[in-house]
């Protein structure tokens, strides 16, 4: 056989056909490449072979026994049969064996119709069983938390789910327990599974052992119409299928996209669609009459909005401002920018509704500065104030793959991350120390040989040795005390190491809003300034779309003052959000899964949206609403089809192509100042004034959308704060007890979780729980305040609901 030493290949014969493959290819992969199907259960091409199920048997000349093709490397001259009678007998035997304890629940099993065990039994099975003994009997189904159901009788112990947790997600969520005949997959003590990726195990389980609690018994797969679209939760833009049945999204699945999410999703993506079909969607416009919001026709509402906009414009275009964009499509953003920029002529537009004044979030363009695929090839990841699994879950899967190949994960944050077990270096500091610590790290790197200060050695050594360093700065760092100092230090670290600096900031379609004109124009005000001017009476109309500032603005009082000070508030909303409740006109709008168009992910990549379902009642798409208003102001936007709109996007921003990355603006070399590093606003004083309060991001929350997704709401749990065991002991706070957090500005009551995830002297409060207004406790310009914690003695101690 001719073998060129430069391009070495191996050639083998499978079912009489010569197949040439690179060395290291398994017989199974070689067969698949040649279009020859071999049945498998345990093998999964995103994980190394295991050889657990023995379904993939083949016969190889001169090898005594049948071989598992998934573990067998192809060799030159090998002669393989997948159809030999001995193979057929082997396959039948394996299937008969797998089925002896299988309950054959097919009629009531969610997997039915898309079940490899069912399909392979049909194609390769023996047709009858000799097994007459009693089958293995397990209590079933077992609930493993709000989204996962386990049926141990159906499990064929292929270990895919276990290995997913070990190899892909790194969360070790599911494991094998007991042994032999009593082996089972489970969590320790059948506790709720702790994972942000468990939906993937449901997807790769080759039987109905792992099923989704929210999809259970909702549909048969052949009844679903799959619609390809994009997840718009965290901003990474994972490719999804929305499975639609009866006009409702019943399930979200991963759609293969090698450059973005590969074949995975996080659980927010998997279980975050219920809100679309919520019965609380707004279906008709609302107009405030005699102080109350009452239903109105579109004509009436639009006429009113247009007349107020016209009056304001006639006074001065700058008396109108626009806030929002996160929940708009690229096309919506473009049309909004034209309406407010060209037709009304106001430069005051901003999507950065959750950015505090003077924070580093307002100084840089948001987004990643390298493709996810390049990040996966990194050898050092320094995460500064970025909780990767809570904020950008799929980004973690890329990093995990790199860490397994030897990349160093370095963590600097005011909370301990769940991925810390994979980290080479971890530094937990109070929020008010983050800037100083990042600065110290940059200093130590630049000093080089001088020897880093104690505690920083491992980080300095890893960064100094790194060849493909990625520095990721998150929202917590950018908007915390000394955010500009953190950013400046991160820029120095990236420069010194020749690495890439990522600004991990933005959710939904924030990057599209940033790109297509929802940023201040010349002389325009950034979002916090828009609010300040509104409060001061400098605005006649405040127009909000694709955002809920009442819960997103990080100082609740700033929003309240803006609302009081502005004459007329218009809101596009899908729900009667806190912002909508305070509005003068509420226009019912579609949500992103109901839209055709595009969004832009954190990489700057243009991704497709396809309307999976129709909106409720008279709700309309945002860009249609903007166009109708523009028409009333005398401007005709004539975008016919979606294609024309996409052409308009490409004309507005050269370089925009479907599926491709157009990088976001580089990080400026010089950065403006902000709140001095370490500054903490004085609190109410007294008792525990040495405690500070900071807000953090959680993946699972209870906001306007997530609060209307059953699985997500349950995963989020009750509103809570995190308090260090030392502080809890000092203050007499029992784990799970209700506490009152009070600052000089407000107080909230919630559950205390006692955990060393937070630093001593620091209480962490997850944002995104609408029932507890974290931002009522904070007053700009301070992101961190002194706080007192008072245990509510009579409350449900230990009662974690």
């Amino acid at each position: 056989m001719a073998t060129d030493p430069a391009v070495r290949t191996v050639t083998l014969t499978i079912d009489g056909r010569a197949v040439t493959v690179p060395p290291g290819t398994t017989v199974y992969q070689a067969a698949r490449a040649a279009g020859i199907e071999i049945p498998i259960f345990c093998y999964h091409d995103r994980m190394p072979p295991l050889g657990a199920c023995r379904m993939c048997l083949v016969k190889v000349d001169r090898m005594g026994k049948l071989q598992t093709s998934c573990t067998l490397p192809a060799a030159d001259g090998m002669v393989v049969s997948t159809t030999d009678p001995e193979v057929v007998a082997g396959q039948e035997a394996i299937l008969e064996f797998l089925l002896i304890n299988h309950p054959l629940d097919c009629p009531i099993c969610d997997k039915g119709g898309e079940c490899p065990l069912q399909d392979q039994t049909f194609r390769w099975g023996p047709g009858r069983s000799r097994f007459v003994e009693a089958k293995r009997d397990f209590a079933k189904p077992v609930s493993l938390g709000p989204v996962l159901t386990l049926d141990r009788e159906r499990c064929i112990l292929c270990w895919r789910c276990v290995r997913f947790g070990e190899i892909i997600a790194g969360d070790d969520a599911l494991k094998g327990f007991e042994r032999g005949f009593t082996s089972e997959i489970n969590t320790p003590f059948t506790l709720p599974v702790e994972s942000k990726f468990i939906g993937n195990t449901i997807a790769i389980c080759p039987v109905g052992a792992l099923t989704s609690r929210t999809y259970r018994f909702r549909a048969r797969p052949w009844d679903n119409e799959p619609v390809p679209s994009t997840c718009t939760h965290c901003g990474l833009g994972c490719a999804v299928w929305f499975d639609v049945r009866g006009g409702e999204i019943v399930r979200t699945r991963a759609r293969e996209a090698p450059a973005v999410n590969d074949i995975w999703l996080c659980d927010l993506g998997f279980f975050g669609h219920d809100y679309v079909a919520s019965g609380e969607r707004l279906t008709a416009p609302l107009v405030r009459r005699d102080g109350r919001l009452t239903q109105a026709s579109w004509e009436e509402a639009l006429d009113l909005v247009a007349s107020r906009l016209r009056a304001a414009r006639d006074r001065a275009p700058g008396r109108v401002a626009f806030l929002g964009g996160r929940r708009l499509s690229n096309e919506d953003a473009l049309v909004a920018a034209r309406l407010f920029g060209e037709v009304i002529g106001t430069p005051h537009r901003d999507h950065r509704v959750d950015a505090p004044p003077g924070g580093a979030s307002l100084e840089v363009a948001w987004g990643l500065r390298a493709p996810l695929e390049e990040i996966a090839r990194g050898d050092v990841f320094l995460l500064v104030g970025c909780d990767v699994t809570e904020e950008y879950p799929i980004l973690w899967l890329r990093m995990k793959a790199a860490v397994d190949r030897g990349a160093a994960l370095l963590l600097l944050h005011a909370r301990r991350l769940e991925v810390r077990r994979h980290a080479r270096w971890e530094r937990l500091v109070r929020a008010d120390r983050l800037a100083a610590e990042t600065g110290a790290l940059a200093d130590a790197l630049e000093r080089g040989a001088a020897g880093p200060p104690p505690g920083l050695e491992a980080a300095v050594a890893a960064i100094a040795a790194g060849r493909r360093v990625h520095v990721v700065v998150g929202r917590f760092a950018l908007d915390g005390p000394g955010g500009s100092a953190v950013l400046a230090a991160a820029v120095r670290i990236a420069e010194h190491s020749g690495g890439v600096l990522h600004v991990a900031r933005g959710k939904g379609n924030d990057i599209g809003a940033q790109r297509f004109g929802l940023l201040p124009g010349a002389g325009g005000w950034p979002a916090p300034e828009i609010l300040r001017r509104a409060a001061a009476g400098d605005l006649d109309v405040l127009y909000v779309a694709g955002s809920d500032p009442a819960t997103a603005v990080t100082d609740r009082s700033a929003w309240d003052a803006a609302r009081r000070g502005v004459g007329f508030l218009v809101v596009h909303e899908a729900f009667l959000s806190a912002t909508a409740e305070a509005a003068d006109v509420v226009l019912p709008s579609l949500v992103l899964p109901e839209k055709d168009g595009t969004v832009t992910n954190l990489e700057g990549r243009t991704l497709p949206l396809r309307a999976a379902v129709r909106g409720p009642g008279a709700a309309r798409g945002d860009r249609e609403i903007f166009s109708l208003i523009a028409a009333r102001l005398g401007a005709l936007f004539t975008y016919g089809t979606g294609d024309e709109l996409f052409e308009a996007l490409r004309a507005a921003t050269p370089g925009v192509e479907a599926g491709a990355i157009l990088p976001v603006a580089p990080v400026p070399a010089r950065l403006a100042g902000d709140v001095p590093a370490g500054a903490v606003a004085a609190g109410a004083g007294g008792g525990s004034a040495e405690l500070i309060l900071a807000t953090i991001d959680h993946l699972f929350t209870q906001g306007a959308t997530t609060g209307r997704c059953r699985g997500i709401t349950a995963l989020a749990g009750a509103p809570h704060c995190l308090i260090h065991p030392d502080d809890a002991a000092r203050l007499g706070v029992e784990p799970g007890a209700l506490v009152e957090l009070a600052t000089g500005h407000g107080a909230v009551v919630l559950q205390a979780r006692v955990t060393d995830v937070t630093a001593p002297g620091q209480v962490l409060l997850p944002r995104g729980f609408d029932a507890v207004s974290a931002y009522a406790l904070v007053r700009w310009p301070h992101a961190v305040v002194a706080v007192t914690v008072r245990p509510l003695v009579a409350a449900a101690a230990g009662g974690a609901p």
Partner: protein, 161 residues
């Protein structure tokens, strides 16, 4: 699992586990001996003890619990002061272990898997104590008893107050 366990491992156990970790190239290798340390201290492997071992070894709790569940010498539920394990595998079965199990049951008033009301003994049947040459074999705590007959049992029990 976040936060410290409700009843953490004692300082002594943690020091011993730290010493064990130093003996091996990979920290996973210290898992079995560490589980014995925790079991000796807590009497059995409670969820807290497992969490403590996981923390001490920097391993996932799930992995620690999974390994502990695989081996019969780790107890995931409370046991009596003494644990009697009677082999019921082939060699012992052929040599009359059924009568031994029955006699233990009668004397102690418990079935296999149960603990006497006074907390003195837990009775278990197990597969293979690796003592086929002296079947029927019985393990009490860490003592192995060979060729046990029903008649031996009264005297045997007296040795374990």
């Amino acid at each position: 699992m976040s936060g410290p366990p409700a009843r953490p491992l004692g300082a002594e156990a943690r020091a011993e586990i730290a010493r064990l970790v130093g003996l091996y190239e990979h920290r996973q290798s210290a898992l079995l001996p560490a589980l014995f340390v925790a079991q000796r201290e807590h009497g059995y492997l409670s969820p807290e003890a497992l969490a403590g071992v996981a923390e001490a070894l920097d391993l996932p709790v799930s992995e620690v619990a999974s390994v502990a569940s695989f081996y019969r010498l780790f107890y995931l539920k409370p046991v009596g002061r003494h644990v009697i394990q009677v082999c019921t595998n082939l060699a012992c079965m052929l040599n009359g272990c059924a009568a031994v199990v029955r006699r233990f049951g009668e004397r102690l008033g418990v079935a296999s898997g149960e603990t006497t009301a006074d907390g003195r003994f837990t009775l278990r049947t197990v597969e293979c104590l690796a003592a086929c040459e002296e079947a029927p074999a019985v393990l009490v705590d860490e003592d192995r008893w060979a060729r046990v007959t029903p008649g031996d049992i009264d005297r045997l029990l007296e040795r374990y107050p």
